[in-house]
Amino acid sequence: MSRTVRLCLALGLCVIAALALAILIGETGFDRGQYAAAFGDPTSGPWEVLWQVRAPRAVCALAVGAALGLAGAVMQGLLRNPLADPGVLGVSATAALGAALAIVMGGAAVPGLVEISALIGAGLAGAMLIAASSAMRAPEALILFGVALSSFAGALTALIFNLSPSPIAQAEVMSWLLGSVQNRSWVDVAWVTPAVLVSAVFAVLASPGLKMLTLGDEGAATSGLSMGRLRAFALIAAALATGAAVAVAGVIGFVGLAAPHLVRAAVRGDAGRILAPSALSGGLMLVIADLLARLTPTDQELKLGVFTALIGAPLFALIAWRAAREWRL
């Protein structure tokens, strides 16, 4: 059994354990009888809490985390830069702009409209990045373009927030920007899962190119692989995964940046083989983060995006510090 398969199996077992914990544990404590009802009586309250509230929320966190972990690994491979992720490249910000625009225009009342707007936003960002990547070959240039795109989308979102006539819409936009999987249902799960699976297919198709890019643009361009096509696949995968994640959970930072770092050493730096473990570790991180956010005793539930940033940023600084030697090649 290969090293990567063993890693994926171990991460998969951790994901199953985390999901089980996220479903069994919550703010409302159950006694033995209530747990029995939760597993035996579909008409009971405990059953409702476990399988219609906690389970879809946990699975949503898993799918969103996996999408972000996958998108982060693809972006880092594509740009050969450990600091790249959908947030840095403006895909998250543009998706959030799409969602904010739909909310202030009253789209929240139409089922699916806000989500589709977020996907369109991510798609537009992806299309702009594809166009930019064919015009500017240097990965640093693409990162600068992404930073500019992110700032511009952020500015437009702030403008929408500023000019929004309704305080309710403002609150909804704010909630979107903070990121959460609270109150997500099986409908949301059904929405996000196919998008993540399709993006995973594109990511797998792009993986030989991502690995070849380890040698730099010129080495990859003369390797015999059709790098233009593989780059486009990678950007489609990253945009679709990010769009789906933002559509369902709003903006959740850090996961896309950190998930690949947690598994990079275990796959020995292979930018192709890192994809599946990175998606699994992103999912695992978000399931655990959401469980901790739920269990933190605060008057108002902590938003997941706030929680991941609070825990993630210092952790990321630590990882960056430890990995700095590897990056200075």
């Binding site: 080495g219 003369t222 390797s223 020995r268 292979d270």
Partner: protein
């Protein structure tokens, strides 16, 4: 027929013309050294030969076929390119880096060839070591192995010995020479004129994007060329291990 021919090749880098009607050929079994001062067009000529620099005039032919008509894979099967850039983004082990030279082989075949190529360049002991834990010279050997792994009939190396110690410089050139002796064609850009004279069958001297001289090393690098192109007062001295350039700034 030549493995590589550049026919009146012109190219630009931004608004600057970097190649002005360059003609050169590389045949099977020969090492051709590209020499010239910084900015002469050596790297541009090599990049044009692998399709990395878009041409503004002329044509590049691999084995008689126009490069523009070949697929990415056909190009890679005919020519292996060793870029000057030695940065490797992630800490891959050496055998994985070398195996990247053969993306169309199955995993097992690619690994077997990678191992053989690493042994060929004297890096057999580095097979499982991460490239982040290697010196610059060791990394250069691993990247050379990547270029050798597929066994392409034509090898293009852009300043492959820049920044290496004398032993590693000779090792790299000896490996390229050995491939030529086994029937491959090699085009290599070099700043060290003594090494160029010692290892190459022919030298092509470039200056400001034009071919100034080409031929047997000592003839191409004549005192006149040394003075006009390199700004050197120099002469060749016969030594036991090949010609030595004795020179000072003119």
């Amino acid at each position: 027929m030549s493995l590589l021919s550049l026919e009146k090749v012109s190219a630009r880098l931004g608004k600057q013309a970097v190649l002005n009607g360059v003609d050169l050929t590389v045949g099977a079994g020969e090492v051709v050294a590209l020499c010239g001062p910084n900015g002469a067009g050596k790297s541009s000529a090599i990049r044009a030969a692998v399709g990395l620099a878009p041409l503004t005039g002329g044509a590049v032919r691999l084995d008689g076929d126009d490069l523009r008509g070949l697929s990415h894979r056909q190009r890679a099967e005919r020519v292996a390119y060793l870029p000057q850039e030695r940065r490797i983004a992630w800490n891959l082990p050496a055998f994985e880096v070398a195996a990247l030279g053969a993306p169309f082989l199955s995993g097992g075949d690619a690994m077997a060839r990678a191992e053989a190529a690493l042994i060929e360049v004297g890096a057999g002991h580095l097979i499982d070591r991460g490239v982040a834990d290697m010196s610059g010279g060791e990394r250069a050997r691993v990247l050379l192995a990547r270029a050798l792994v597929v066994g392409a009939p034509l090898l293009l190396a852009d300043e492959p010995i820049a920044g290496l110690d004398p032993d590693a410089q000779r090792l790299v050139l000896e490996r390229l020479r050995a491939r030529a002796d086994a029937g491959a064609g090699v085009l290599v850009s070099l700043h060290d004129l003594t090494l160029a004279a010692g290892f190459a069958d022919r030298v092509v001297v470039l200056d400001q994007g034009r071919v100034i001289a080409q031929g047997a090393p000592i003839e191409a690098l004549s005192p006149t060329v040394l003075r006009s192109v390199f700004g050197l007062d120099g002469e060749w001295v016969e030594a036991p291990n090949g010609p030595l350039l004795a020179a000072r700034r003119a």
